[in-house]
Point group: C2
């Protein structure tokens, strides 16, 4: 999880008395029952659940189980087709995917597997996906590709939630980018939104009745706010001032130019329950030509980076997620009681 070691702490959820701990296996079983009742075939359910659960285990509630009730509603409303894994059309090393309104992770996983095979032949391959639902945490994909010794670059868009640097209203998606790279140690995985915080986190704060930190968001009139509910109607700040804004904008344009998807305020279906999702996803897989020496060099370098501070250890992307995941396995996942109750309702 990128940035979770800042003083802002904007990837850790606020503490609340109204939470409980549930074992990962128990959460997985309840989620499986929900998916079964919603008409999701078992294979597809396993992928969708794993993407949500892995996020939850790493402390990324914004991309975790809180998204499952909405997925069920979207299936009921006919804007998610739980059966399809998308329609593929190759042109050279370019894979055009019509997601056919499938489950985001199911369609993306099928595309990624096809890329991994093609790139063994062509060395690089790209998939552009339209008509697909929310992907969940991009780190999931990056980690899997890197584990098999390939490089992944992935980008996706969302509804307009972020204001331009100097702007007053939402016009950019949160537009995350993920990069997965094999190392001699565990894979290096970058996965970050180009907003200062994820809108999922704002929803999480709103659910828990917590205030946002100053500088995170504007209300719908373009004024700064720390009220999570007001921010839901307003816009999020881009990360990194002008540069972060510029990167988010480049991702918005790149995904649209490559997938033919909608752009800016015309994007729908990543947060609501009834709109067809018309954002786009891009995956690029590169097959590594180099040998294990580079993997060693990269792993050793990451340890040097960790030691480049003075009074505290410098974190590398994935370090905190790795600790949180181990803790979730050992102690269970802490989630809001209201969410756990809702999940159990859906399962029975």
């Amino acid at each position: 999880v990128v940035g979770s070691h800042t003083q802002r702490g904007w990837n850790s959820s606020p503490d609340s008395a109204d939470t409980l701990e549930v074992s990962c296996d128990h959460v997985r079983d309840v989620a499986a029952e929900i998916c079964h009742r919603a008409g999701i075939p078992d294979d597809n359910a396993a992928i969708q659940i794993d993407v949500l659960l892995e996020a939850e285990m790493r402390g990324r509630a914004s991309h975790g189980l809180m998204r499952l009730p909405r997925i069920v509603e979207r299936i009921r409303n006919g804007v998610i087709n739980p059966v399809t894994s998308g329609r593929h059309r190759w042109d050279g090393a370019f894979l055009d995917v019509d997601g056919e309104r499938g489950l985001g992770p199911v369609v993306a996983n099928a595309a990624m597997k096809a890329l991994a095979v093609m790139s063994c032949d062509t060395s690089i391959a790209i998939a552009t996906i339209h008509n697909n639902n929310h992907l969940g945490m991009l780190a999931w994909y990056a980690e899997r590709i890197a584990e098999q010794g390939q490089v992944l670059i992935s980008m996706t868009t969302s509804e307009a939630l972020v204001h331009a640097w100097g702007g007053r209203s939402a016009i950019l998606g949160t537009n995350p980018i993920a990069i997965g790279i094999p190392t001699a140690d565990r894979p290096f995985v970058l996965d970050m939104a180009t907003s200062l915080v994820a809108m999922g986190l704002v929803h999480d704060y709103a659910n828990r009745g917590c205030h946002l930190q100053s500088g995170w968001a504007l209300d719908k009139y373009g004024n700064p706010t720390t009220d999570a509910n007001a921010a839901k109607q307003g816009s999020l700040a881009p990360f990194g001032e002008a540069k972060g804004y510029a990167l988010g904008l480049a991702i918005e344009l790149l995904v649209t130019a490559l997938t033919g998807c909608e752009i800016g305020r015309d994007v729908r279906g990543t947060l609501d329950s009834d709109a067809v999702c018309n954002k786009g996803d891009v995956f690029i897989v590169v097959n590594l030509k180099r040998n294990g020496r580079i993997a060693d060099r990269v792993a050793k370098y990451l340890d040097d980076v960790r030691r480049s501070g003075v009074d505290r250890k410098v974190l590398v992307p994935g370090d905190r997620a790795s600790i949180a995941r181990a803790q979730s396995i050992a102690q269970g996942i802490r989630m809001p009681t209201a969410l756990w109750d809702r999940l159990n309702q859906l399962a029975t």
Copy 2:
């Protein structure tokens, strides 16, 4: 120029009495004479000069003519071979380039041209370049690829100049990323270092005797400094706190994993006059499948972004560079008198 509209103004050079204005044509003629005397063949000189001059014209002195005297020294010292354009070896859509110590822009331009042709067939192609010199401004490449209707993603590394977020010493390159995308209007071009400022800008400030702004750099002991000369011995801050650091780190690893180049503190030859340059460069070209409707949609969207502020116009990457370039053509380029004198010395 990304971020030049921030209050920091960190891409505009400080004013100084000791500057003068020279017409673009005059600068080009003097540079051509310098290159001729240094033994650079005319075709190669034209590319190298254009990359430097276009940066200078856009107000990016850090990537402009101030780099030419060092290029000449590097040729004299045998660490630049001014004749070669690199050796190409294809494997699928993957182009491995041994830069053979060539001029950075000459080797990169040849690789990019080869990618543009290959990607018409394979839809996507990648070049990884090692043993090549400094590329200059990445925007130059992104603009040219986008002008011919293709997408470019480019990344390169440099000597360790940037500290990790929470770190105290330089361990990352300034690791810029560029993205070029065709639109119905002029191409969209993102080109930004992942440091908060470019080391070239710090050198420019040092040359002009100006103070850095607070938060830009640490000295060699890891303490904050505004002294440009102390910063040259220390480290630059990453942009965007933890996220910008994470992106810069991902680029460092990606370029090393793909090109087999050196990493972190082992990188040499991007700032000095006598070390063989051992950083790496990555170029990815994607051939667009979509028609002009998308180019229109993207251009219209950029205008919406520009109008998303209230009391002032929001800038899009390239807007300020475009204005500066037009002004340079009309009024000439403003540069330090000392640099102009040095260039004229080298030309005679």
